[in-house]
């Protein structure tokens, strides 16, 4: 008789890794900000994986969801700064707003783009981040190109000490929780009909349709889930950690590239993959910036081509294949 908890074993290595990161960051002097960066990559990868990994669709405009999430938090803080009695409630409202805005944008984009297949989808999304940035700047939304700087408001709302702790510690811990939560959701999806449907449509969309799978529905589900997580990552890692938002910075395609590298390197569609990818990427980037500054992108571009041509399933994908049906295998999916 199988243990009832056994489907959840694969979360163990994920949690162990997050916990280890947390311990290292809190206990080894001077490492917290580096841990924070790694946590950001982990959460980014874990969130993107829900869409890119599970559906096999490439969203080149993914960073737009982080961007609107950042705006969600920014709007909450600047808009409610006159009600400092709400305190942390404003931050909570900011997260809700971030999720709502990411959901709205992803629904709008998904409703159009997800009717399209593979290549056409990628083309449709390639301009989402730019398009949205130009809308904000062009229509002068939310201060247009001047962006918002709201450290002062955050200080006012939370008090200087708490605000400072939020910016330097709690924002990062929130990112950790978001990453862990994204992993839990990934696993829940994998173990439910959604996961089976996504696997099927990733492998063969037409066959999946014929099997009775409403592919558009499941794609949109994954898209919105992934986007909402991205929104919260933006709200925590960008808006709370550094209380300002300038449109060109939060819609920069560079972050989509990083997310793609992380997911592909670790193993698209696996649970542990984004985490492993984020750690490999974050740590090697750290070293490269010390020893070979300025060549990170060059090296990572080569790595991506190499990974796609030689082992497209990524590091965890390979381990998963090798350990299938072994005792270790039940921890790695």
């Amino acid at each position: 008789m199988k243990n009832r908890l056994s489907p959840y074993y694969p979360l163990l290595p994920v949690f162990v890794a997050y916990f280890a990161l947390f311990l290292v960051g809190r206990n080894v002097e001077g490492t917290w900000q580096l841990v924070a960066t790694l946590l950001f990559y982990c959460a980014l990868g874990q969130a993107f994986n829900i869409f890119l990994g599970m559906t096999g669709y490439v969203d080149f405009g993914y960073v737009a969801f982080l961007g609107v999430g950042t705006y969600g938090m920014a709007i909450a803080i600047t808009g409610l700064a006159n009600f400092p009695q709400l305190g942390l409630g404003i931050v909570a409202i900011g997260f809700v707003l971030a999720i709502i805005m990411a959901t709205l944008l992803s629904t709008a984009v998904g409703a159009v783009a997800l009717r399209l297949r593979g290549a056409y989808f990628a083309i449709a999304t390639i301009g989402v981040n730019e398009g949205f940035r130009f809308l904000i700047e062009g229509a002068n939304l939310w201060n247009g190109s001047s962006g918002m700087i709201f450290t002062a408001q955050l200080n006012e709302i939370l008090g200087r000490d708490l605000a400072s702790r939020v910016m330097t510690l709690w924002a990062d811990i929130l990112v950790l929780f978001i990453g862990a939560l994204a992993a839990v959701v990934t696993l829940l999806y994998m173990k439910s009909k959604i996961g089976y449907a996504l696997t099927a449509l990733r492998e063969d969309e037409d066959a999946a349709k014929v099997m009775g799978i409403n592919v558009t529905k499941y794609k949109i589900t994954a898209f919105i889930t992934s986007a909402s997580f991205a929104g919260t990552v933006g709200a925590a890692a960008w808006a709370l950690k550094t209380p300002y938002v300038f449109p060109p910075e939060v819609f920069e395609i560079h972050y989509t590239i990083e997310a793609i590298i992380i997911v592909m390197l670790g193993g698209a569609g696996t649970l542990l993959g984004p985490l492993v990818g984020a750690l490999i990427y974050g740590v090697s980037k750290y070293y490269l910036s010390i020893f070979l500054p300025g060549v990170q992108l060059f090296i990572f571009a080569l790595v991506i081509i190499f990974v796609i041509v030689t082992f497209p399933e990524g590091v965890v994908g390979v381990i998963k294949r090798k350990t299938r049906n072994t005792a270790i295998g039940q921890y790695i999916i």
């Binding site: 890794a17 001077g30 490492t31 450290t151 702790r165 330097t168 300025g294 990170q296 005792a327 921890y331």
Partner: protein, 429 residues
């Protein structure tokens, strides 16, 4: 079974810990020296400015240690050290590196990276460690409206960029009435535009055209066509390096001739004239500092201000020594970063301590002059003492034409038309 899984997790965890462990061996600031920490932009989009800043800082640190003899602290001369990391012009790296500078390297002061965004990114970390945070590359005025207690600015605020140019036109061409403003739509340039607009209105100019264009534009033709129709006497605009070249080039393409064209950021760089050749003749640009300014010990004495630091020529040779590149001249990024070192040195000597609170207080009262010009901050940390210079391309060379106290040549006004320039006419006064 758990054991097996550990077999995989352990190495992964270990590998991820390596960078943290290596931090133990990192350089740690001890007694007997004062350390400046800097998260510099040596690669990425701000690499050019970052390289200049590092050169400027190293030149001035060199001067402090070898010419000045070190910082006088408690009756002893203490050497100044400089510790930098490359933040790749990315905000994720800025926080981790500033965190590391403060907690591992235990530096005494942190110099912010280039640009307003990255400066803002690092500020909360410095604040939370009560660490003095000096800004040499973030010109956005709003940084100093956020209530940071430890942030201090050396670069002049964005709103003051085009004030000098307007003053100049007002003085030398009383007939010029119509000004066109066309800036990049970015947090920095729109702030410059706002400052220019207010000042132009104050001086009684008529603003006949006021538009922006987004970052990354590759064709300004429609905007410039509309500007041409407004028939301005002179044009102020720009944003960054890239669009400045485009702006000037397409004005030439559309044959838009005005009496004066001043572009921020781009026009003062050698690459501007390299790319545009004769089309750049007579074009102006404001700069925080330019080689050739006439700030000197004597000038300081006249104004009754304290003087510190190398002379301009000394600075240039120290800069060349620091960068190891004989051909590269320091620009304003280098000068303002260098001047920041000098401000810090003076403040430490004045208060006799490296404690951030005390140094910050001393900086608040400090007023001095160096090769970079005057330095003075207000209560929020905003730079108010420094004034900018205006540079004009005359016969392929950069000439400082404004303010009159710093000028190395007279301005050429009005500048030749594009057709005249094509025929070889130089913009000489």
């Amino acid at each position: 079974m758990k054991f097996f899984s550990l077999k995989i997790i352990l190495p992964a965890v270990l590998i991820s810990i390596i960078p943290f462990i290596s931090t133990f061996s990192a350089f740690a600031a001890g007694h007997g020296k004062i350390v400046i920490g800097h998260s510099a932009c040596l690669s990425g989009k701000y690499a050019k400015a970052g390289e200049q800043a590092v050169g400027g800082i190293e030149a001035c640190v060199d001067w402090v240690n070898n010419e000045y003899g070190g910082i006088t602290l408690g009756g002893k001369k203490v050497p100044l050290k400089y510790k930098k990391y490359d933040c790749e012009s990315k905000k994720e790296s800025v926080t981790s590196l500033i965190g590391r500078l403060i907690t591992v390297d235990k530096v005494d002061v942190v110099f912010a990276p280039y640009s307003s965004g990255l400066t803002l990114r690092g500020a909360p970390i410095a604040e939370s460690h009560q660490m003095l945070y000096m800004d040499h590359g973030g010109a956005n005025n709003k940084i100093f409206e956020q209530g940071f207690r430890y942030a201090v600015q050396t670069i002049g605020p964005a709103t003051s960029y085009h004030k000098g140019t307007l003053d100049m036109v007002k003085k030398i061409a009383p007939d010029a009435k119509k000004v066109a403003l066309a800036y990049e739509d970015s947090e920095f340039a729109t702030m410059v535009m706002e400052g220019a607009k207010n000042h132009a209105e104050k001086l009684g100019f008529e603003i006949v055209f006021e538009r922006t264009y987004p970052k990354g534009t590759t064709d300004l033709t429609p905007l410039l066509s509309a500007m041409k129709a407004a028939k301005p006497d002179f044009v102020l605009g720009g944003g960054h390096f890239e669009d400045g070249q485009l702006f000037n080039r397409q004005m030439a393409d559309l044959n838009i001739n005005v009496d004066c064209l001043s572009l921020i950021a781009a026009a003062t760089l050698p690459a501007f004239s390299d790319a545009l050749g004769h089309m750049a003749e007579g074009v102006m640009g404001p700069s925080h500092w330019e080689y050739g300014v006439t700030y000197s010990k004597e000038a300081a004495k006249e104004k009754g201000k304290q003087w510190i630091g190398p002379s301009q020529d000394e600075f240039v040779s120290l800069f060349k020594k620091a960068t190891g590149d004989q051909k590269m001249l320091p620009d304003y990024h280098a000068a303002e970063a260098g001047a920041q070192v000098l401000a810090y040195v003076l403040a430490v000597e004045k208060t006799g301590s490296t404690d951030s609170d005390k140094v910050r207080a001393a900086l608040g009262d400090l007023e001095f002059m160096s090769f970079y010009g005057s330095w003075d901050i207000d209560d929020s940390g905003l730079q108010v003492g420094h004034s900018m210079v205006d540079v004009q391309w005359q016969d392929g060379k950069r000439v400082i034409v404004w303010p009159e106290s710093a000028q190395t040549g007279k301005p050429c006004y009005p500048m030749p038309t594009f057709d005249e320039k094509k025929d070889g006419k130089k913009a000489l006064p």
